[in-house]
């Protein structure tokens, strides 16, 4: 282990059980969800306000295009509204349900686009700046990593994206996916192992 705090271990995380992040917020959210499931559009709009950026960023990571990410984000919330009365709270925060919808929509979209690997070359240049050669190299690396991440199994991909793309700590990820902290650590370890194999292919 290096002395520099690593991305794998840098965050506080060693609770043995999953701990809901921000309990008062969860209670408030639960109330909003209850109202939304009863077709209260105002409550659903508040849930939208709370989660739209996160859903958008999750989709953007997969499609790398702002317009496509916005379309898919809107579709996610439209689908969520259609299905909201069937939503069942199973311990994970509401956003986990939204992210699952957004993921399924995005994967379908990418499949229909056929060129699954088509990613926006301008992504790095426009968003990160820097030296063009380094940016190109970085873009190529990011593309191969992203493609491999998208090929991971559902649960593993989710953990990898939450940990390293959204930079949540183990405890937050555990709360998001309804697992214990040690389970998240194991899933992450296996996911990285699989990611490495995918990238060697």
């Amino acid at each position: 282990m290096t002395s520099v705090p690593s991305r794998m271990e840098a965050t506080s995380e060693d609770g043995a059980q999953s701990v809901p992040a921000g309990k008062p917020d969860r209670d408030e959210e639960r109330r909003l969800v209850e109202r939304a499931t009863a077709r209260d559009q105002g409550a659903f709009a508040q849930l939208y306000d709370q989660h739209v950026v996160r859903v958008y960023r999750h989709i953007y990571y997969m499609v790398s295009d702002a317009r496509e990410a916005e379309d898919l984000t809107a579709q996610t919330f439209l689908k969520a509204w259609e299905a909201i009365d069937r939503y069942k709270e199973r311990g994970a925060p509401f956003v986990a349900w939204l992210l699952r919808i957004s993921h399924n929509l995005t994967i379908s979209y990418l499949r229909s686009r056929r060129d699954h690997s088509e990613l926006d070359e301008g992504f790095v240049d426009s968003k990160r700046g820097g030296n063009p050669e380094e940016s190109l190299e970085q873009a190529t690396d990011e593309r191969s990593v992203r493609e491999a991440v998208l090929r991971l199994r559902d649960e593993q991909r989710q953990v990898i994206m939450l940990r390293f793309v959204e930079e949540l700590d183990y405890r937050e990820v555990a709360a998001m996916i309804g697992k214990s902290v040690p389970a998240v650590r194991v899933i992450q370890h296996r996911a990285l192992g699989n990611l490495r194999k995918l990238m060697q292919q």
Partner: protein, 86 residues
């Protein structure tokens, strides 16, 4: 790191759902031996998974337009339902 103790990892094969209930404790070295890769190898890979820049966000125009659309949906649903009922 090497003296780190991790609970609930006594069952290696696909036992990643819950910590073991009997309070098993496994040394980190033991856990690592269950996997062919070392932390250092995987750490290099983890470092390549870059977070999105903070400025990646939907436009304000999109957010307000979509919010308005969502607020209008219940009426649309009601209209469709009444059409179906008719």
């Amino acid at each position: 790191m090497s003296d780190m103790r991790i609970t609930g990892l006594a069952k290696p094969a696909d036992s990643n759902d819950e910590p073991s209930k009997d309070g098993d404790v496994m040394e980190h070295k033991e856990m690592i031996s269950l996997f062919p890769e070392t932390d250092a190898e995987l750490e290099g890979l983890a470092a390549r998974i870059r977070p999105l820049p903070r400025e990646v966000a939907p436009s304000a125009e999109f957010m307000s337009r979509t919010r308005l659309r969502l607020l209008q949906l219940p009426a649309q649903v009601a209209i469709e339902e009444s059409r179906r009922a008719a």
